[in-house]
Amino acid sequence: MQTDSALLSVRELVVRYRVNGSRRELLTAVNGVSFDIHAGSIFGLVGESGSGKTSLAHSIMQLTLPTSGEVQFHGKNLAHMKGSDLKKMRRNIQLAFQDPLASLSPRRSIQQSLIEPLDHFRIDAPEQRRARACRALETVGLEADVLLRFPHELSGGQRQRVALARALVTEPELIIADESVSSMDVSVQARIIELILNLRQQLGIAFLFIAHDLAVIQQLADHVGVMYLGKMIEIAPADRLFRQAAHPYTRALLEAVPVPDPAHGKPVALQGEVPSALTPPAGCVFHTRCPRVEDRCRVLDPLSNQINESGEKRTSHHVKCHLWNP
């Protein structure tokens, strides 16, 4: 594998659902999203509920088939993969849900949950699989006695680790971590953040980390993509995004995060609500709430502009906003 080519590239991905069966209403959950994830890097995907981040994750995993566009893993289109290629890909991309209650089968022991992917991919001899499961648990900082427990016997933090261990056990190259909206305690969250950073450093695993909390994303990500109503409206290296966010929505998001410092002053609230994805606004999807809206925003959908001079793709900063249109 060449170092400069992307591990996962998503190109102009569109995911549409039919709503209400026979009626011809289409919901566009993901609308022309493109980005790359490089080996061993963490890509943070931010967006509010309904922005399409989970649909994007599911269509990357081919759990819902993309309507158009493609997903390439090591340069090969996932949709055309068959047989052993497909199996190899599935071994190398794993899903980890951070919703602790939903991510583990309630009637199966942790051992059963961890060994299942090993059985399926025929990794190791059957008698060595338990040892490998133990090692995965150790990696996430759990004792082997967890193996015989059931999910309901674990604490929230332990379940989170087990979910990560299950994703790790096949030694994937990419883990897609879909955060739940539900709250996680800061002390637990801090340890999961530490753990993910270690995994990346020691095992070179790349992550697609989906979250709604920009502060968490900043702790982890090398690159950040911001989604709004199915569109990737800004994409940039993390340090650049947090230093000089270009899109008014990204700025609003950054300002809305409550800062744990009373001296900081009240965050500026964005007006209005996210419009329905069934009837997205014409022109720029954000124009209904944008503080800097202009006439052309209401009719013209902005194209993606690269706004820094960097020649290298990995450090380029793209934004979909008329303000940055020359």
């Binding site: 209400n20 899903l95 980890a96 849900f97 089968s105 199966r108 949950s113 309901h152 016997e153 604490s155």
Partner: protein
């Protein structure tokens, strides 16, 4: 004011928020604490032993021998007296236990199995934003079966399979599964979007494996309740069908005893009627108690606290 009055503890105080909240051997330990459930278990066990005794030929073998006079009262030879034909009521009642279990088990197991499989398939192939032909046809089948008047349907099956001793069983299985199927379908639609199902899809497990390993075990609480309800319903239905003459053949059941007793009650002889009703009542009561207790014990959401 519509303040939610019932703020359950699980809501304000999520289970498992702590270091370890163990719930080992919970099914049995919960059942053991449930006195009504234990009573149900004892009753069902006694009846089960009776029916096994009949099956192995130790009990009730003289059910068809008419060695007494008509309507003999209780005596040492005939503990509960005799019927119109001079047959021993006690023997007949005991033998009927086997009939009841045979019908109850066959119908409840097979109808639940059928409902689970078809319901799971329908729920799995129901895309949340539109139908699929698998889901559509299974739903259509349920609709058709549910719209035929039950006794008419049973009569039709019984006549169609004239003389075949399993006609009644088939009729019940074919009609009973729809309720289970609908419940399982709804539950599967809920379960399939949960993380553990998605991640087993993501590693590429085949659909039957996902359904059997990950989805159906999580509908166990529904299946258990439905199976126990089907068991009770099957026995009750058998009584009515036998009463109508569509029931068991070449055998005896509580329903047939009740059918016989209509003439006897008119003549003032209640032994047959009371015995059959009593056996039926106690078994159904025991089964209902047990089913309730099992439902509580198996529900994973009540695992702790």
């Amino acid at each position: 004011m519509k303040t939610p009055q019932a703020l359950t503890l699980s809501r304000v105080f999520p289970a498992n928020a702590f270091e370890s909240d163990k719930g080992r051997g919970r099914v049995w330990s919960k059942l053991r604490r449930d006195k009504a459930g234990l009573l149900g278990l004892v009753i069902v066990t006694v009846f089960l032993l009776l029916s096994l005794g009949v099956l192995f030929g130790w009990l009730g073998q003289g059910w068809s021998i008419a060695d007494g006079g008509r309507w003999e009262p209780m005596s040492v030879n005939h503990w509960l007296g005799t019927n119109l034909l001079g047959q021993d009521i006690f023997q007949r009642a005991v033998f009927s236990t086997r009939t009841a279990f045979e019908i109850g088990l066959a119908v409840s197991l097979l109808s639940t199995l059928l409902g689970a499989l078809l319901g799971a398939l329908a729920g799995w192939y129901n895309t949340k934003l539109g139908g699929n032909w698998v889901d559509g046809s299974i739903l259509w089948l349920m609709g058709v079966l549910d719209s035929i008047p039950f006794y008419l349907f049973v009569a039709a099956v019984a006549y169609a399979l004239q003389g075949w001793p399993w006609a009644m069983h088939v009729a019940m299985i074919v009609t009973f599964w729809t309720t289970t199927g609908r419940l399982v379908r709804a539950e599967v639609m809920r379960i399939k979007s949960r993380g553990f199902v998605l991640s087993s899809r993501a590693i590429g497990l085949p659909v039957p494996v996902i359904l059997i390993r990950h989805v159906l075990p999580n509908t166990l609480h529904i299946l258990l309740v439905q199976a126990s309800m089907a068991f009770v319903a099957a026995i009750k239905t058998e009584v009515i069908l036998s009463f109508l003459g569509l029931g068991v053949q070449d055998s005896v059941s509580w329903g047939m005893m009740l059918a016989e007793s209509t003439q006897e009650v008119l003549a003032g002889h209640f032994n047959n009627f009371l015995t059959a009703s009593f056996m039926l009542f106690i078994l159904l009561l025991g089964f209902n108690l047990l089913a309730d207790a099992l439902q509580d014990a198996f529900d994973p959401r009540q695992a702790s606290l």
